[in-house]
Amino acid sequence: MKILVCISKTPDTTAKIAFIEGNTKFDESGVQWIINPYDEWYALVRAIELKEKDPSTIIHLVTVGGVEAEPIIRKALALGGDEAIRIDSNSNDSFTVANEIAQVAKEGAYDLIFTGKETIDYNSACIGSMLSALLDLPFVSLADHFDVTGNTATIKREIESGEETCEATLPMIVSCQKGMAEQRIPNMRGIMAARTKPLKVLTPAASTATTSIQIFDLPPTKSGVKLIDPENMDELVRLLKEEAKVI
């Protein structure tokens, strides 16, 4: 089985969110980049577990990003995975990113493509679904269990009214969330091995962006907390009812 895992970089979850150039650009100075948690903890680790069960499995990692994405993809290789592909583009347009990944996916004839549920910076939750349309493949979103026997995958996913188990025939695309696997820490051997694993850099295919970011804004800051006497919960209830009007 050949698996492609989509890896994106995001600012560390504690990064200060600020903007520059007239609020048109995210301020990357001093930002520590991490692998998007859904991609790392769930998509990648589940792919590694599948390879541990069936060592003939091949895992490729793909990222669409500039050179600053290399430490991230190396870290992903240190966790596991056989080789990585970086498409040298900094596009923020989901369609452009999905299109780049779709080219790689077509070339590689993968049986399975894993993405994370969403990136924690732009929160688009688009790439998996877009890939499914570009490649005309089945797509299961928000999966928290994935197993495969032969050509048939069994997946558990979150649905609007609960949880559902479904089956699909490979090839297919799955977006991964909590429950899929447990977070791992790369070990020394993995880190050493990652240094010599192949990392291919591709130039992006020409495609026209469908969207562009115009400007960023920060939400208004809260006017300050109103402290309530712990002995006077009637007052809190009154405020929730009459002032905030939420109950």
Binding site: S129, E160, T210, L218, V225, V237
Partner: protein, 320 residues
């Protein structure tokens, strides 16, 4: 024409879709065009009532096979319907089904998409939509550059608006592609308010010390008619089910009221709840970072305060 996809679960229309419909109707008003709705599958509700939320016409693809989510099938037929009806804007709720389907529909229509939209588009100079980014810590205004636009609107960001009209209902015939997945088992969460649809949420953290102490929180939730949530360490320790985990790596919610009990307010937790309209924090540590994000705070021991709050709510409800 603005086409709004009406999403269902269990043959019931989701509240988030009624909000999406109100939102779509407001866009149509701005553009001076009609609002139509599209529903796949069969539902219990009377579809003419979708007029109350702004639809002039409802198109139904009446086929039971479409009652459960199959992204390949749904995105194919929605795109085909949007094309044959000449929709210029297609609106989805940014909920589980909408997130899964809308981006595929956008690709099939060659349309640009904005997901997680939180306000009406600005159509003065092109078509710009504002969305939440960085898990609610900021907003980005995105220009959609294509002739057809797809928008998925954040839950609880626009509100449901009432229109006093009835919609005409028509069946639409589009060939339905073969199923791409086979559903073998469905486990419904019974009796609980789904977290993402809840207006009121009561949430607990490690400050409650152990699962055996959740009774006070559940009593408060029951008194309010609220859904329950928790911080990540709580679900990681299996004190509470995983679907209650809110935050950067859990579920993102935007209820009218979020009551945080014994939660410190780490930035990753706030990322999942900072879009709540009103936040109440109960914490014994006056320095807990959550107070900075709160509207109302109570400093003290949750084990004493929460039962008092529950009693005060029950008292208010019995005299109201």
């Amino acid at each position: 024409m603005v086409l709004v996809y009406i999403d269902q679960a269990d043959q019931q229309i989701k509240k988030a879709s009624l909000e999406a419909l109100s939102y779509g109707a407001a866009i149509a008003k701005q553009l001076g065009c009609a609002t139509e709705a599209l529903i796949a599958g069969t539902v219990k509700e009377n579809l003419a009532e979708l007029g109350n939320y702004g639809a002039q016409k409802v198109h139904q693809l009446k086929n039971e096979a479409l009652n459960s989510l199959d992204v390949k099938a749904h995105s194919t037929i929605i795109a085909a319907a949007a094309k044959s009806l000449n929709a210029t804007v297609v609106v989805f709720a940014h909920n589980i089904n909408g997130k899964a389907i809308a981006p595929a529909v956008a690709v099939r229509l060659g349309a640009g998409i904005v997901t997680g939209a939180c306000s009406l588009p600005n159509t003065q100079n092109g078509f710009e939509v504002t969305k939440t980014v960085f898990s609610g810590k900021a907003f980005a205004t995105i220009k959609i550059e294509t002739p057809i636009k797809v928008i998925a609107i954040n839950q609880n960001s626009f509100g449901i608006q009432n229109h006093n009209q009835a919609a005409s209902v028509e069946e639409i015939n589009i060939p339905i592609p073969a199923a791409s997945i086979k559903i073998t088992k469905v486990e419904k969460i019974e009796g609980e308010i789904p977290l993402t649809e809840a207006n009121l949420v009561v949430s607990g953290g490690r400050g409650l010390k152990g699962p055996e102490n959740w009774g006070i929180l559940l009593d408060l939730a029951k008194a309010l008619g609220a859904a329950t949530a928790c911080s990540r360490p709580v679900s990681d320790s299996d004190w509470r089910p995983h679907h209650e985990h809110v935050g950067q790596t859990g579920i993102q919610i935007a209820p009218n009221l979020y009551i945080a009990i014994g939660i410190s307010g780490a930035i990753q937790h706030l990322a999942g709840v900072n879009r709540s309209k009103t936040i109440v924090v109960i914490n014994k540590d006056p320095e807990a970072p959550f107070f900075k994000a709160a509207d109302y705070g109570v400093v003290g021991d949750a084990f004493e305060i929460v039962p008092k709050l529950t009693a005060a709510i029950l008292k208010m409800k019995s005299t109201a």
